[in-house]
């Protein structure tokens, strides 16, 4: 019983982190119709910036300032990447391919820059909250509880922004009909930058949370990015709520696979799952047929 609960807990923790990453990917995908390969480096840079500003080895300004710096600098970087690497190709016939190349280039460039700036030595963030909580006879690290609670709260805030605010409605409008959005006077490029900014900020938070349970390396975002990609496709690309649902399903599945068949075969099992789901439901698990 104990083992089952800890497998489930680990699944929920993973699912929460994947939800943060995959939602950002899905937001950019629905709004701009492109896939951002640089998303993985946003995770690593978020962790590095938080480390640099927050920890004693860095500027020592405290965890709060570290997180604020990570989120705001990464949001700005997201906007910058949209402006310089995506916008010049908008309206171009080969937009999707061009952006694959430019964002891959950004990934490699930023990954190596991070290596130059912070060196090859592994770093780690201290847990945001110390200690353990006893829940249902199970000792759970408080940091994991924070991940499990914070992630849905942030996604709920994103949902509220998209559903309840005028700007959120404009963002959804852009994803549904770009020409019509232009024709009601919505400044579409500004909202593209906004989508990128939100996406990068969510990745930064995922990086900060991940940075205290794993080591911070320039490539730390790549493996979660692949998982987030599976999640986004699995959950139904283009549907934010489907993506969030998919994240928890994949997180749980991964935890179960790691326990029963081992770490080595887990990615293969996840991809197999994705392929099987797509065979039966090409629109994704929670996707809708148009």
């Amino acid at each position: 019983m104990d083992i089952l609960s800890s497998v489930l807990l680990s699944g929920v923790v993973l699912g929460s982190l994947y939800a943060l990453m995959a939602t950002g990917l899905a937001l950019v995908w629905t709004t701009l119709g492109i896939f951002n390969f640089a998303h993985g480096i946003f995770i690593a840079l978020g962790a590095y910036v938080a480390w640099q500003f927050g920890t004693e080895e860095g500027f020592g300004l405290g965890a709060t300032i570290g997180i604020v710096a990570a989120v705001s600098l990464l949001a700005a970087l997201g906007c910058l990447i949209e402006r310089t690497l995506v916008r010049p190709f908008l309206g171009h016939r080969n937009l999707v391919l061009a952006v694959v190349i430019t964002t891959l280039a950004a990934l490699i460039f930023l990954e190596n820059s991070a290596l130059l700036v912070w060196g090859p030595r592994f770093k780690q963030l201290p847990p945001l909250v110390d200690g353990t909580l006893a829940i249902g006879g199970l000792d759970i690290a408080a940091h994991e509880v924070l991940i499990v609670l914070l992630s849905p709260a942030l996604l709920l805030a994103l949902w509220a922004f998209l559903r309840l605010t005028y700007m959120g409605a404009a963002l959804r409008a852009v994803s549904q009909n770009q020409d019509a959005a232009l024709m009601v006077g919505i400044p579409v490029p500004v909202l593209f930058a906004l989508a990128f900014g939100i996406s990068a900020a969510l990745a930064a938070i995922a990086g900060v949370l991940l940075g205290s349970i794993r080591f911070i390396t320039p490539a730390m975002g790549n493996e979660p990015l692949v998982k987030a990609l599976i999640v986004a496709i699995f959950g139904g690309l283009g549907s934010i709520s489907g993506t969030i649902g998919g994240a928890y399903v994949i997180g749980m599945l991964e935890a179960v696979c790691v326990y029963f068949i081992g770490l080595y075969w887990t990615p293969a099992a996840l991809f197999l799952c994705m392929i099987l789901v797509l065979l039966v439901r090409p629109q994704g698990l929670f996707g809708r047929v148009d």
Binding site: A170, R172, Q176, N177, M183, G185
Partner: protein
């Protein structure tokens, strides 16, 4: 009368493919102009160029005297030029009410949003009934009403409608003609693209025929224009 819209020798098109070959037209305050002509000869391209979705390659477009040829689409909407696109479903996964609310996005339209909404629902009572429905669940005629309704929410000072009756049943066509007539009666200048010449004759004072990306003929409604004459323009004289 002062010119609201002046299009002067505009050439343009998609990518490197030219569609417009020097279009010129002038629309005066309170005037309603109809554009007609064969498919694929530049009517829609002209509207897209005026509303900033396409950039003119040459020539100038002026709205109330100031050039808008290189402005962004949202700036052009801010000035009050509103383009209702052909067969647009608008925002498919949003309710009718939400679609209409977004119509008033521009800063100029927002203060009057409530009053404009009431006006739109008066012109199209059916949108009131469908208020909570998603746009994608609307019928073709209702979608058209929604597209025009969203356009009106933007508080247009020049309204451009692109084939509002395309593919609609005759009864719906009449209903829509009546609605456009009601809009015209408020004095908003109109630029109306339509294949149905009778529809244009009922609603506009001047007809321009567009062929090969240029205005090739102009008719006034008073000049006893008959269908046979237009058929001749379209298809050429009958060879006997």
């Amino acid at each position: 009368m002062a010119a609201v819209l002046e299009v002067e020798g505009v050439t343009g098109g998609y990518g490197r493919i030219p569609v417009l070959h020097g279009v010129s037209l002038q629309l005066d305050a309170g005037e309603r102009i109809g554009l007609f002509g064969p498919n694929g000869h530049g009517k829609t391209t002209l509207l897209r160029t005026i509303s900033g979705l396409l950039r003119p390659w040459q020539g100038d477009i002026r709205f109330e005297g100031q050039s808008i040829a290189s402005r962004r689409p949202n700036r052009i909407v801010d000035l009050g030029i509103v383009h209702v696109m052909q067969g647009s479903t608008m925002f498919r996964d949003m309710s009718v009410a939400e679609n209409l609310r977004l119509g008033a996005y521009s800063a100029r339209a927002r203060p009057d949003a409530a009053a404009n909404l009431e006006r739109v629902l008066q012109i199209f009572p059916r949108l009131r009934e469908r208020s909570a429905q998603h746009a994608r669940t609307l019928s073709g005629g209702e979608r058209q009403m929604l597209a025009i309704g969203v356009g009106l929410m933007a508080a247009p000072r020049l309204l451009m409608l692109d084939e509002p009756t395309l593919g609609l049943a005759p009864r719906l066509k009449d209903e829509l003609a009546e609605a456009v007539g009601a809009i015209a009666a408020t004095g908003i200048p109109l630029l109306l693209v339509e294949q149905d010449v009778q529809f244009l004759l009922d609603l506009t004072s001047r007809l321009l025929m567009i062929e090969h990306g240029a205005v090739i003929a102009e008719f006034t409604a008073e000049a006893a224009l008959d269908q046979a004459h237009i058929a001749e323009m379209y298809f050429g004289k009958r060879a006997n």
